[in-house]
């Protein structure tokens, strides 16, 4: 990366009041490290402890989704190629009293379609419907393909105070970046 691109990136990231952003390889260790930093920064930024709890909870579920789901992105493969690389970007920002968490990661076309369908269904559900969905999902056997993610998505929808939004954008090399946003 040269300074011109670095400058562009800085303008994007430093323009608004950001609480935190992370991009790169995502693992359980990184979830823990970034999560601890996020909590510290939220505690000094935000008075509402319930808002902090909801943001932290959404962050954990989104990071775990990045770890579980995902396809190779434009990044080179890991040295330890036994493990599927999980690359992603997560950004927690603050605007007019609202906090939002955005997460992006590379997924297959099928995963993108499945995730968009699930999230749009959650976004149009009432609190009571989400509560019932969560309850039903708990009692369902964990599907091999879902790897537990759908319970996590319902959790995110319940903790968010605005409907979830999402989008998948394919870059010129055919990689699909799936993006989701939850606001509290």
């Amino acid at each position: 990366m040269d300074f011109a691109r670095f400058n562009q990136l800085s303008h994007l990231l430093l323009n608004d009041e950001f609480v935190l952003s992370y991009s790169g390889y995502v693992s359980e260790d990184i979830l823990k490290a970034v999560g601890d930093t996020l909590r510290e920064r939220l505690t000094s930024h935000v008075d509402n402890s319930n808002q902090i709890r909801n943001i932290f909870s959404i962050f954990v579920e989104l990071m775990q989704n990045i770890i579980r789901y995902g396809d190779d992105g434009p990044q080179p493969a890991m040295k330890d190629s036994m493990q599927k690389p999980s690359f992603g970007i997560v950004l927690v920002s603050q605007s007019k009293g609202h906090l939002s968490v955005m997460a992006g990661n590379y997924v297959t076309d099928d995963e993108a379609e499945m995730l968009m369908g699930r999230i749009n269904a959650l976004a149009t559900s009432s609190d009571e419907e989400l509560r019932q969905m969560y309850r039903d999902k708990l009692r369902e056997p964990v599907e091999a393909t879902s790897k537990g993610a759908s319970l996590g998505l319902i959790e995110i929808a319940r903790r968010a105070s605005l409907p979830l939004t999402c989008e998948a954008i394919k870059d010129s090399s055919g990689h699909n970046l799936f993006m989701i946003k939850a606001t509290v």
Binding site: E28, K32, D36, T43, S49, N50, R53, N54, F56, S57, V60, E61, Q64, R131, Y134, R135, L138, R139, V142, G148, L151, G152, I154, E155, R158, R159
Partner: protein
């Protein structure tokens, strides 16, 4: 007697099972890296207690945060307790929730209404400062 204890980590709660007193306290945060391993350890300890003692069992759940994978394991924990109660064991559960955390309270209510032999009492959790 088969008491069991395991210290809390940043991502797993403390387990305190006192076989003499017939009590289990689960306190802290739960978003383990390996959720199955953690909750298997817990259920093994409970089963060992059931095998070694006939006494009543009083469970306190004091979790300030748990993720959705832990939620599933907590439901299974409650099922385990419910089965024991169904076989004649006296079991009570106190579930402590932060007064402001509606989602957790609703979760505790919902999984409690799915069990038939155990009565779950939902109580207010005193939150530690700045955690």
């Amino acid at each position: 007697m088969s008491s069991f204890s395991q210290k809390a980590t940043a991502r797993t709660p403390e387990i305190l099972l006192d076989a003499d007193a017939g009590t289990l306290v689960l306190s802290g945060e739960s978003y383990p890296e390996d959720v199955t391993a953690f909750y298997n350890t817990l259920s093994d300890a409970i089963i060992a207690f059931f095998d070694s003692s006939e006494s009543a069992f009083d469970v306190s759940i004091k979790l300030t945060y748990f993720n959705s994978s832990s939620a599933r394991s907590l439901m299974e924990l409650l099922d385990l307790l419910d089965n024991a109660a169904g076989q004649g064991r006296q079991v009570s559960v106190q579930w402590y929730c932060d007064a402001e955390d509606d989602i957790t309270r609703e979760f505790a209510q919902d999984i409690s209404s799915d069990v038939t032999n155990v009565t779950v009492t939902i109580c207010d959790l005193e939150m530690p400062d700045a955690s």
